[in-house]
Symmetry: none
Subunit: 225 residues, 2 copies
DNA sequence: TTTTCCATTAACTCTTTGTAAACAAAACCA
DNA sequence: TGGTTTTGTTTACAAAGAGTTAATGGAAAA
C-alpha cells in the first residue's frame, strides 16, 4: 500500500496516546500532524488539509464532536475522512459521533494493530472511489481497467508509469514540480535518484508515441496534447 | 459490487440506532428505508420490496420475530433476506429467529465495520445463488449448473475457481485488486497465503485453454477475451 | 473405509518493473 | 562562446511480483 503523501491529523489531549498513535502511523509511512485540543485541531486542519482527521471525543477547548461539526460545516472538509476516538464505549457518544458525520470510530483502549488496520481500511475504502476515468483530447486513461487508449489503440503501462501519467493528466496543462510528482507517486518518504522520474517519463512518451508530456525546464512536467 | 440498486429496510424503535445503521449502509451505496415499529416495517416492506430486511427483535407493535413470520407467509417475501438484530445475545431468541426463517442475526452493540461486512457477505452469499448466467464473448458462465461453456465445450471448474472466474467476468475489463478478490471470493476475514489466488487463476487458465484473464502487475487481474 | 477431488501452502523459477549509474544532449547564463 | 546546469537516453542490475509444480491435509464421493 502506498501511504505516500497521506496526511493524518490526530487530536488528543493526552500526550502519551498522541505519541503512540503517531508512532504507529509514521511507521506505516503516513505523515502525521498532532493537536492537543479542539481548537488547535481546527487550526491545524485548516493549515494542513489532512486526508484523515482522528479526533478524541474528550478534549479541552472544544470536544471532538464539536470539532467535527465545525469542520463539516466548511466546504473544504465536506469530504475529509473523520474518525472518532472514544475513551469509553459510550453508546450515546458513538451514535452522536456518527450522525454528526464522522466516518468511523474506535474505542480506546485499542491495540496498535487494530488502530492501524482501521486507518488503512478507511483510507482504502475511500481511495477506491476516487479513481475516475480521465478523457483528454482523444486520450483515455481508465484506472478501472488500468488501460490507456489513444487512437483506438490500447496502451499498456506499468504501474508507476500509469500512476505518473494519471497524475499529470488529472490536471492537463498544469505544471507539476518534480517534488510534487515524487510525493504523489512515490510517497513522502521514499528517496529515489534524480533520474528516476525522467526514465519513467521517457517510457510513457515512448509507449504513447505522441508528445503529450512537456518538460518545463527547472520546474517540472505538464501534460498537454 | 454495485450496491446502487440494493434496497435495505431497517426496522428498529430506537431512532439513534436507526440513524447509525442507515448512515453506514448509505455510505456503502445502499438504498435504505427505515421503520420504527413492526407494523410500519411490514407496510414499508410491501411498498418498497427491499432486497434485505433488518429487524430489531424488540419493537413495539409486533416484534421482529412476528414481523418475520408474517412476511415469510407471503409469497412475495419468501426469498427476501431477513436479518435480526438482538439487543442481548439471547441464545433462545437467536435460535427462534433463525428457525422462523431469518437468514442471519447480529447482536448489538455492533461496530459499523462488522455490521456492514455482515450485510455485505449476506448479500454476496445470496447473490451468488441468485445465479445470473453471464455471457461474455462466447463464454457462458452458468452458476446454476456450475458449468462454463466455451466453443461448444463444457468446462468443469471447482467451486473456488468458479467463484473467482465469475467475479472477474462479472465486470469484463475491470481490474480487480488482489485484496478485492480476496474479500469477495474468500471473505472479509479469511487469511490465505500470497500464492493462493495465482494458483486458482492458473487452473482456470489451464482449464479454459484461452487466455481470458490478464494480469496487471502490482495491481490485480482482469477478465478479457 | 478407501478413493478422489479440492484448497491451500511452500519452494522454486521466471518475468517484469523500478532504479541507479554513466554518459549524451539540451538549455541556460555569463 | 564556453562552461554550467538540467534533462534525455541507455544499459545493467536488483527486487518485486507472478507463474509453476508438487506436496499436504481435509472434505466429499464412491
Amino acid at each position: 500500500m502506498d501511504n505516500r503523501a497521506t496526511k493524518i491529523l490526530i487530536a488528543d489531549d493526552e500526550p502519551d496516546i498522541l505519541e503512540i498513535l503517531k508512532y504507529n502511523l509514521v511507521k506505516e509511512g503516513y505523515q502525521v500532524i498532532t493537536a492537543q485540543n479542539g481548537e488547535e485541531a481546527i487550526e491545524k486542519a485548516r493549515q494542513t488539509a489532512p486526508d484523515l482527521i482522528i479526533l478524541d471525543i474528550m478534549m479541552p477547548r472544544k470536544n471532538g464532536v464539536e470539532v467535527c461539526e465545525i469542520l463539516r460545516a466548511q466546504p473544504a472538509f465536506k469530504d475529509t475522512l473523520i474518525m472518532f476516538l472514544t475513551a469509553l464505549s459510550d453508546e450515546a457518544t458513538q451514535i452522536k459521533g456518527l450522525t454528526t458525520g464522522a466516518d468511523d470510530y474506535i474505542s480506546k483502549p485499542v491495540s496498535p494493530q487494530v488502530f492501524v488496520s482501521k486507518v488503512h481500511s478507511l483510507l482504502r475504502r475511500v481511495r477506491k472511489t476516487e479513481t475516475k476515468t480521465l478523457q483528454v483530447d482523444g486520450l483515455t486513461i481508465d484506472p478501472e481497467r488500468f488501460v490507456v487508449q489513444y487512437g483506438g489503440r490500447d496502451i499498456l503501462l506499468a504501474k508507476k508509469e500509469f500512476e505518473l501519467l494519471y497524475l499529470l493528466a488529472s490536471k492537463p496543462g498544469r505544471v507539476f514540480l518534480r517534488n510534487e510528482i515524487l510525493s504523489q507517486v512515490w510517497g513522502i518518504d521514499v528517496i529515489v535518484g534524480d533520474r528516476t522520474i525522467d526514465v519513467h517519463i521517457r517510457k510513457i512518451r515512448q509507449k504513447i508515441g505522441v508528445d503529450c508530456i512537456t518538460t518545463v525546464k527547472g520546474v517540472g512536467y505538464k501534460f498537454e496534447l
